[in-house]
Symmetry: C2
Subunit: 783 residues, 2 copies
């Protein structure tokens, strides 16, 4: 059973158009931002335009106030001089005014302030400037505001506090913190930076310098800010892409964050042979990744020239990237195209590579959290079945598995023996059709039963058996049985006796393999399977997971109120979600791939189920359900499903620091594997595990991954090790999961040498922390 | 203003009796636990008796089941053998039955199980044994159950999961995890331990050994268990004291934890010269510490011999520790006293040293969380004043400060000038009385005003002025003024003019110095103070704090529901609490004291206020309150209290691993300090800072400390550094605090050498995590 519940793409999806909003940014915009300028920008093909909230006049006014204050301090002494007060904006300070065109504006706060300053005076003035500017932008109806990120990694808590306060200035204010991917921003602030005036008297003692520049520092600063702002959804990133992109791992990290705006300065462009601005291949690929997000970031072109007057251009030109050859020949040294960068971006927009199959099908469902299906207690609707049946890979694989199983059984049972095939949970019949196709393909005669508990689907199946030719392949039509599979007593043979099933086909898997109770269902129907040679398709399945950083999902769950959820707020962290994981980052990578362009995650197997199980196990289970003390000793009155308990403890080494928000879960399944004795043994498998999916079942779209959240995210340092304990718990009524993530670090201890003086280095596992113990008991899957 | 709100000890408290419940424990109790045995134990003087829930018969039954299972595995293969099932207890397995005497019983679960086993079979059987035993104990009405702690530091999550499940077996079940302070328990399990049968096939790969024994390992295991059990209040510790107590720091750590039971094995006793069992001095002191807790742990005497028959003893003997000299002489080699250990413990109980003054006064209030007073918006009741007036130290200090101030003013103003003294917030008059005593003592003439806004206290003050002789010391009685101090226009002099106050006395301090708005109140009345020589008592005050581990307080706040609180559940972490801190541990210690018997905490100063403030500051504040653009430029319409904003960033090095649950806060105040020009300058101070309180104001009882909680406790590794940012925020209506704790670790990075080949070691500050940013804005102190 698949898990894309509610994912109602009734038709094979077309490649959706790429949406890209492009803005124009000048770090020192000279032209006042007027209605005319906005219109010119739109005419040139820009969607947005950035504008500094205040003008140089304001900055010099603040500097004068500051200098007067410092002078007063020198003459009167600090005890007698009150902290300076920045008076409200005047018309000379800002061009902004309430206007309808403001919807196309992105406001930019002053970059010459230092909110994180260790000088209380500078911090005080900076905070006033920020608050005055943001409050005024909000008053003018501008909701998107870019705020310069912190200057260094010191004082981040103080910076974050100011941002949090600013978020409170208006209910619609969206702040985008301008940050470099690594290192420093391309453009420093204009004019005197307040930081230059700071006296460091704030922090106690003389704090050491925090060491040299680090690859993940900018990300780490962001992480602190957003944590202290409690993952506020109105707080996002304006990410500046440098000319040379950093490692693939750091790219991935930023990709997982709420980037609302990509800032492309002129310097991040190359020039092609003809002198036109272009982006490097890595930049193009990174942009493509972002453009596939459910809500793609806007692009801001920075300092790529002023906005041209409408006279300079015609709107038709915008769509073409290059001048015609004739034009080029006519003007060999033509002046630079004033919207060359924009043209190029629009060109990229129109030539985006096609999306992978699952993303086309899952369009609009990326990172959208759903609850897993409860197929044992809910009846599905036809549209849901239809969605599942669209899968181009899954039913084909089932058919191939059937082919192999039929061939092997013919080998075993002889040519003349008809094979009894039952599909349990037949739905609208696609598996039955697959089995019949396999029979037709191999010429092996079958007798078929389709078992279905959903009384609505039952109607549909009967009609199919009555009308479809394939469903009467060998004369006798498919027998349709209305029953919960666990209650079916078995196939009634032509002689009226109840026989056994040779091939039992089911599609009960969930996103985490066993999470929709496939083991319990197949145990419940195993009594109809031929005990000597009966085959279950699937034969086995395994659950897999890996720790991930998924700030978007975390923030989404955090924001859900108990009324949205129909459960208590605490419970929302205590259940797994089915989700098309998209905007996330893997924390544990395969060591040998870390430094490559495409690092692979370390995804580990949690546990396995295979079918059929040994009859002794089933007998004990049955006896336990009955309970009581029997002749063979006491067998219990509970625990009839205890044999489907599973647990695991898995360790994941995280190369780079990060935050673990939960576990991404996947499954693999062997539908049918021929005996290893057979030299050309074949195997048909399904997989949603990113490591094996392309090899085992490329383009399969029926399942999204599963996400096990952590209520309190864990901050992992470089080289940290996450130890995940997970349990599949069972009682007589339901099945649920429990999970906990612990953090360790391996520490080297130098032990000074004994007689020979050589010192020894030993390692020790140091415990750094742990998540809560999560349990989906209250929202477990009912049997 | 003090903060022991509601702490109504109307009389000077007597030393309360020491309560000590003592239990008898045998690790291999032979005698069945019967009603008779319980009665014998009580007759001997024991309050409690421990009893294993099951008997050896049960253990051998489980072992047989296990061996049969292992045999079956060998013959049939693991796929065909279901997991073994332990059948319910039979009358042969246990002596327990429901009975009234069970209230005196502490049940003990089997110590031969291994809940943390990496062998799924052993873990499975162990969990069944635990659940059977605890469920049966609960059925029999026994709520206190001792559970053996984990055998090693592996599989703690799995162990904790089992304990959490067991806590769910009954609503009244109290589990005490038996743990050593460090290293291993004195007594191993009886008979075959299941761990010996384990095959390690559970954890993936071959996990390395986690290194040698560590001092804090046992504590760390406990910490993991209770965290995964979400600080369940029914989960506590049975702590075994070894013969040699570990370091003072580790003692302190365990002291801060919910120890419900102290286990004293025979081996932790010494023999004195006469051969009687006694405890070492460190043991006695540690016991004394525990006995002063609001709920002291019980003591379990382990393996100190069997419970004697009533014939062997008389109840009178119990109270005396030693035989009379005559007895001793008569029986020089008498058989050992069967209740020698118990006698000694009762002797200790009766000879406990007296408690410190603040604990006697605060009896019953240890670790009891209160909200700070809001004296500006609430009127206090007489009983509250009475409580405050009981302080043996505070008013004396005020009187001494007055003496110094009067002398200095006489020096300055000449002999004949009468001194104007005003007490603001006079309450029932104790400060006025102190000032008048100072005047009498020095012979310096004063004119007095008592200002009070509480109209009920006003009645009382008027009566005092009319009836008490001291209140008419120089002829004119004290003038009583009914007014909010901020609205008082100043003292009306005998000539009818309004004069200025020479000495302004107030007691407005809170537990964190400024948290009851002393700065704001004194600013508001500064206009009545003589601008040339006016003195404020207190002259200045400072707030101090340090990070602490306080699991009891954390668990208490965690358990508060929104209905208890009259606020949202989220808000309960966003305000400081006044609390007599008792069961807590300091995380940051003064480096040079760490290894000593009495390590001292690192408590740092956050900020300072002093009075009076410069008139320029007050003027700007006044102008800002008015608002608008004036002749002198714009002065604002808000921020009139901005000069009372404060902030700090303080770093604390934590030597030993631990969990930070919040900050313990204190204050110091200089009531009056003579000018440093004076060679014999004297200073009168108050302090609740543990580092200086004994030196500055020993036995002062008026203030309890303050506690700033963290919503998510921070796990600190050995040598971790906590960086605390704290703000005192102000607006025109209120004052509130904000605080955030970040965790860093200093890492050594070896950088391989260049030309000369020598490698260099650099340090880098590595960020490990952070708390939320807390803010009491919603519950701030109203002005």
């Amino acid at each position: 059973m698949t898990a894309s519940n509610g994912n109602a793409f009734a038709h094979a999806p077309d490649e959706p158009p790429t949406i890209l909003y492009i803005g124009h940014h000048e770090s020192q915009r000279q032209t006042p931002v007027s209605v005319e300028l906005i219109q010119n920008a739109q005419y040139a093909g820009y969607d947005l335009i950035s504008a500094p909230i205040t003008k140089p006049h304001f900055q010099s006014r603040v500097l004068t106030t500051l200098r007067e204050h410092v002078d007063a301090l020198a003459t009167k002494g600090s005890k007698h001089v009150p902290m300076p007060l920045i008076s409200p904006l005047t018309p000379l300070d800002t061009d902004f005014a309430p206007a309808e065109t403001n919807l196309s504006l992105i406001a930019v706060t002053s970059s010459w302030i230092d909110l994180a300053s260790s000088d209380p005076l500078i911090a005080h003035v900076s905070r006033q400037v920020l608050n005055l500017e943001i409050a005024y932008a909000a008053f003018c109806g501008i909701s998107n505001v870019i705020v310069q990120g912190p200057v260094s990694n010191r004082g981040t808590a103080q910076y974050a506090r100011s941002v949090r306060e600013a978020l409170g200035l208006g209910p619609y204010i969206q702040l985008q913190i301008l940050l470099p991917m690594t290192g420093e921003l391309e453009e420093g602030p204009d004019g005197t930076h307040l930081g230059e005036l700071a006296r460091s008297e704030y922090l106690e003692g003389d704090f050491e310098d925090d060491g040299e520049f680090e690859l993940y520092e900018s990300w780490e600063i962001w992480n602190s800010i957003r944590q202290l702002c409690e993952y506020n959804t109105r707080l996002s990133i304006a990410l500046e892409l440098p000319r040379q992109l950093p490692s693939a791992t750091l790219q991935s990290r930023w990709f997982s964050e709420p980037v609302r705006l990509l800032n492309l300065p002129r310097t991040s462009f190359l020039r092609n042979a003809k002198g036109f601005p272009v982006l490097s291949k890595p930049h193009q690929q990174y942009l493509t990744r972002f453009l596939r997000l459910r809500t793609a970031p806007w692009v801001l072109l920075s300092d790529v020239g002023t906005i041209p007057e409408p006279a300079c251009q015609s709107i038709q030109q915008v769509a073409t990237m290059e001048p015609t050859p004739a034009e080029a020949a006519a003007n060999p040294k033509q002046p630079e195209d004033p919207i060359g960068h924009l043209r190029y971006m629009r060109h990229l927009q129109q030539t985006q590579p096609p999306r992978p199959m699952i993303e086309r099908f899952g369009q609009g469902y990326q990172d959208y959290l759903q609850s897993p299906l409860q197929p044992l207690t809910d009846n599905l609707e036809s549209i849901t079945y239809e969605v599942f049946e669209k899968d181009p890979v899954k039913y084909d694989s089932y058919q191939q598995a059937c082919v192999l199983a039929l061939k092997d059984l013919r080998e075993k049972l002889g040519k003349d023996r008809e094979i009894n095939v039952a599909v349990v949970g037949a739905g609208r019949g696609p598996l039955m059709t697959g089995a019949l196709r396999a029979s037709k393909q191999t010429g092996i005669k079958v007798r078929c039963w389709a078992v279905e508990k959903n009384l609505n689907a039952y109607v549909h199946l009967q009609r199919k058996a009555a009308t479809e030719e394939l469903w009467r392949l060998w004369g006798t039509p498919v027998t349709v049985v209305k029953s919960d599979m666990r209650a079916w007593s078995g196939p009634v043979l032509p002689d009226g006796t109840i026989g056994k099933v040779d091939i039992l086909i089911s599609e009960l898997l969930g996103s985490f393999a066993d999470n929709e109770l496939s083991p319990e269902c197949l145990d419940g129907i195993q009594h109809v399977l031929n005990p000597d040679h009966g085959v279950s398709i699937p034969q086995s399945y395994t659950a897999h997971f890996t720790p991930i950083a998924a700030p978007r999902l975390y923030s989404d769950i955090l924001g859900r109120s108990s009324t949205d959820l129909n459960m208590t707020v605490a419970e929302k962290w205590d259940l797994p979600y089915v989700v098309l994981l998209h905007q996330y980052d893997d924390l544990a990578l395969q060591q040998q791939t870390v430094a490559t362009d495409s690092p692979l995650p370390e995804i580990k197997e949690a546990w396995e189920f295979s079918h059929p199980i040994a009859p002794e196990i089933l007998e004990q289970a049955k006896a336990r359900a009955g309970g009581g003390v029997g002749t063979g000793g006491w067998v219990g009155g509970d625990g009839s499903n205890e044999h489907n308990f599973r647990s695991c403890v898995l360790r994941f080494k995280c190369q780079n620091r990060g935050v673990c928000h939960g576990l991404g879960g996947y499954f693999e399944s062997v539908l049918y594997a021929q005996s290893a004795d057979n030299e050309q043994a074949k195997k048909v498998e399904l997989s949603t595990n990113p490591l094996t999916m392309d090899q085992k079942s490329q383009d399969m779209i029926s399942w999204f991954p599963i996400f096990f959240p952590l209520k309190t995210p864990i901050h992992v340092p470089d080289g940290g090790e996450l130890e995940v304990s997970m349990w599949r718990q069972t009682d007589d009524r339901k099945v649920w999961y429990e999970w906990v993530v612990e953090l360790f670090e391996t520490e080297e201890i130098r032990i000074d040498g004994g007689e020979d003086g050589a010192s020894e280095i030993r390692t020790r596992r140091k415990r750094l922390g742990s998540s809560e113990l999560h349990s989906s008991r209250k929202n477990g899957c009912l049997m």
